[in-house]
Amino acid sequence: MKNLNLQTKAQNTWCPGCFNFVILWAFQEAIRELIKERKLQKKNLVVVTGIGCHGKIYDYLDLNGFYTLHGRVIPTAVGIKLGNPELTVVGFGGDGDTFAEGIAHFLHACNTNPDITMLVHDNQVFALTTGQMTPTTEKEYKGPSSPEGKKTNPINPITLALAAGASFVARSSATHKQHLKRILKEAIVHKGFSFVDILQPCITFHNTAPYLSKRIYDLKKERYNPRNFDLAFQKALEWNYSLDQKSRIPIGIFYKKRRETFEEGFFQLKKPWYQVQRKVNYRKLFHH
């Protein structure tokens, strides 16, 4: 199929060996498979990206796209979905993007449940601005803005998303590409706000690859049931994003539940707005 080529002319400028290449591959594969399975149409897919290394993925995908502001991926994506409910909207954000600048939008999307997918390239560092700490960076991290070490504990996006009511909460890792592809497919297909925290070593500023590869395990192999909220919360607390030596790191779908989406709450959202025709008699507007 000719239109399955998702390549663009853009020259890739990620560091050689960057785990973003894995995320790009997994996403492209997920899209190709979903299109083959007739669960998705390329023309109806829109990607939204924030600012940071992850954002460059906008240039590397031959898909409809909106390269938006730092932290504003989610409201832009929600707007696109409201503007045309027939579109499949996938947001890409960084950990700084989503959990620092854009945390309010993240929590509200978990609560309001728009049918969009939010993929966070969580490398636990600001990479494109040369290595400063983010909200998910471990305590004591020494970076150019924290030479004496980060003073605070990292936040745990999984527990945050669960507490805020997200209907699809998953974690995967760029170190496990087949797992990542599978989770991305499930996230995109899920109706409602799907959040995937993608653990990603930054080979230049925050190389967690050795740490992650030793500790990651797949929830699916434990016959874990993602429909149990209490269990999900327990599992989410198993690793708190500090790079401690004793924890194991579960990856997979923590929680999944079908509930009413944000758009389903609006009677108006039946078709794309550009197809809506109205004839307004402007004098009658005034009920004169």
Binding site: K43, V46, P75, K81, G83, N84, F286
Partner: protein, 544 residues
């Protein structure tokens, strides 16, 4: 004939409702009416008042010179009695104290009719309508139109009021043609609807909130969507997202909320996704004086967002202009893929104005979308007029929007040639827009005379009303403030003998813009910055 009625009381007593209803009754009877609303930022208690100016000739402002004070509490009398005309009277309940008081035993009437205290307002309305000799049937027609199913009980109290013995009657001659009567905020809402608005995004903020409420109420009637996101940043970014997907979108806010939108305005400039913003100004920096008026955000609107990009700023001067200019705002934003700021203020938004007729809009708003784009469609095609033809995702070809500098396809670029080429493409739109708005009356001149008053926005009403008493004065109203119609402005100012700048702000912002755009310095400035609009007499006094 000119009558000025002040209606005052505590917040929660239905002051604005009462005044607006009385205004509608008089407009329906063929009178020109201007309705001013004054309220502090609180929900219950305090002091609210409205002023209705009723006339048989057009009126767009009021003087603090009242024929009647309708008092719902003693405080209203204490505060305003010094502005009551010698032959004027105060209307209110029995408990009030004033030598000028015509008291109605509202408590007894209401308990006899088994109605709650708020219906006392209808008794007062009925009394005033009767006092001026308006036919009861006409009043009841307005009540039915306004209240629908709930009209019966209101009508009952109005009818009762008509049975009360008048202390005096002052019949006014009935004009034939009824007037349109609506507020600036209603006009902006209706203008948006007439222009094909699909989604309105807003976070509550006075004095733009009435648009949010009005459009929310009208969702079913007009098949529009109203969304209230978590903050103003989400508001504007979601609006850009929805617009990218093909919806006609508008956001509304006041200064503080607009501050939060600054970055996304810049994103609009780069991404060229159409967007209309309604900016309703309120007094002061920061929280300021939230429920009062100003023209303090002119420079802010002209300059919002970092970087250089085209934008359009249009400032309607009354409610009819607000309606027509909002339609133009949508037309221009869609056609030129640009940011259009409708710059209003509390005085424009929350005052009611009356008109004989609503003219046909000069433009028909449409989406300017290509519905059958070719497979090699480019989102940012370089064109002579700077406008890249627009389509939406979902039709076929890849559609892109980007806040990063990009090439014609929307792919990121930092190449020197392409950066300047795309910058020039975007900025070429300014001249294209300038040509287009030249035929949309970017300025208006009223009256005749060798001297000139220059102003913009909601000061129009008081200036127009003051012209009647100023011999030898014209009024130049600048409606499009960006792209600035400098040639026409320069011509008007140079023709004039004496020039006065009138602005509802402390530093004469339009004067600064005129100097920047034409080199002309206007030295005579009449400025007011206490949160209240101009009264015509103030302008007349300062000019003479």
């Amino acid at each position: 004939m000119r009558k000025t009625i002040l209606i005052g009381g505590k917040a929660g007593q239905g002051i604005a409702m009462t005044s607006t209803l009385l205004g509608k009754i008089f407009a329906n009877a063929g009178f020109y009416v201007f309705n001013y609303r004054d309220y502090p930022s609180l929900i219950r208690g305090g002091h609210n008042f409205n002023v209705l100016a009723i006339s048989d000739s057009p009126v767009f402002s009021f003087e603090k010179d009242y024929d009647i004070i309708v008092a719902l509490d003693q405080n209203t009398i204490n505060k305003h009695k010094k502005y009551l005309k010698k032959q004027g009277f105060i209307l209110g309940g029995k408990a009030l104290k004033s030598q000028k008081l015509i008291s109605l035993d509202l408590e007894r009437i209401l308990s006899a009719m088994r109605l709650p205290p708020i219906f006392g307002n209808n008794i007062l309305i009925g009394y005033i309508a009767h006092y001026f000799g308006l036919p009861l049937a006409d009043v009841l027609r307005v009540i039915r139109r306004e209240f629908g199913k709930k009209a019966d009980v209101v009508s009952k109290s109005i009818k009762f009021a008509y049975g009360i013995k008048l202390h005096h009657q002052e019949k006014v001659r009935k004009k034939r043609k009824k007037k349109y009567f609506f507020s600036g905020n209603e006009a902006i809402s209706l203008g948006a609807i007439a222009a094909g608005l699909d989604i309105y995004f807003a976070y509550p903020m006075t004095p733009a909130t009435p648009v949010l409420h009005y459009l929310a109420r009208k969702q079913k009637e007009y098949n529009i969507l109203v969304v209230q996101p978590e903050n103003e940043i989400a508001v504007i970014n979601a609006a850009l997202g929805a617009s990218f997907a093909g919806a006609k979108t508008m956001v509304g806010t006041s200064g503080g909320g607009f501050c939060l939108m600054a970055e996304a305005c810049s994103l609009q400039g780069m991404s060229e996704v159409p967007l209309v913003v309604y900016l309703a100004q309120r007094t002061g920096p920061s929280t300021g004086v939230p429920t009062y008026t100003t023209q303090g955000d002119l420079k802010f609107a002209l300059n919002i967002g970092h970087g250089e990009f085209p934008r359009i700023v249009v400032a309607p001067g009354d409610a009819k202009e607000a309606f027509l200019r909002t339609i133009e705002a949508f037309y221009l934003s869609q056609k030129y893929r640009t940011l259009v700021i409708i710059l209003g203020d509390k005085h424009l938004g929350e005052s009611h104005f009356s008109f004989d007729e609503i003219e046909k809009p000069r433009v028909q708003s449409r989406d300017f979308l290509i519905k059958n784009p070719s497979p090699d469609y480019k989102s940012y095609k370089i064109t002579k007029d700077g406008v890249s033809p627009r389509t939406v995702p979902g039709i076929g070809p890849t559609v892109r929007a980007s806040g990063y500098e990009h090439d014609e396809e929307g792919i990121t670029t930092e190449e020197e040639f392409k950066v300047s080429q795309m910058t020039e493409k975007r900025l070429r739109k300014i001249e294209s827009i300038r040509k287009e708005i030249a035929r949309l009356d970017p300025i208006k001149v009223y009256g005749r005379g060798e001297n000139l008053i220059v102003s913009w926005g909601s000061t129009k009403g008081a200036i127009i009303d003051s012209l009647k008493k100023l011999k030898g004065f014209r009024f130049l109203q600048i409606i499009y403030l960006e792209p600035f119609p400098w040639l026409q402005v320069e011509r008007e100012i140079k023709k004039a003998k004496r020039v006065f700048l009138v602005e509802n702000n402390a530093t004469g912002l339009l004067g600064k813009v005129i100097r920047e755009q034409t080199g002309i310095l206007i030295k005579r400035k009449i400025l007011k910055y206490n949160g209240r609009p101009f009264y015509p007499s103030e302008i007349i006094k300062k000019i003479k």
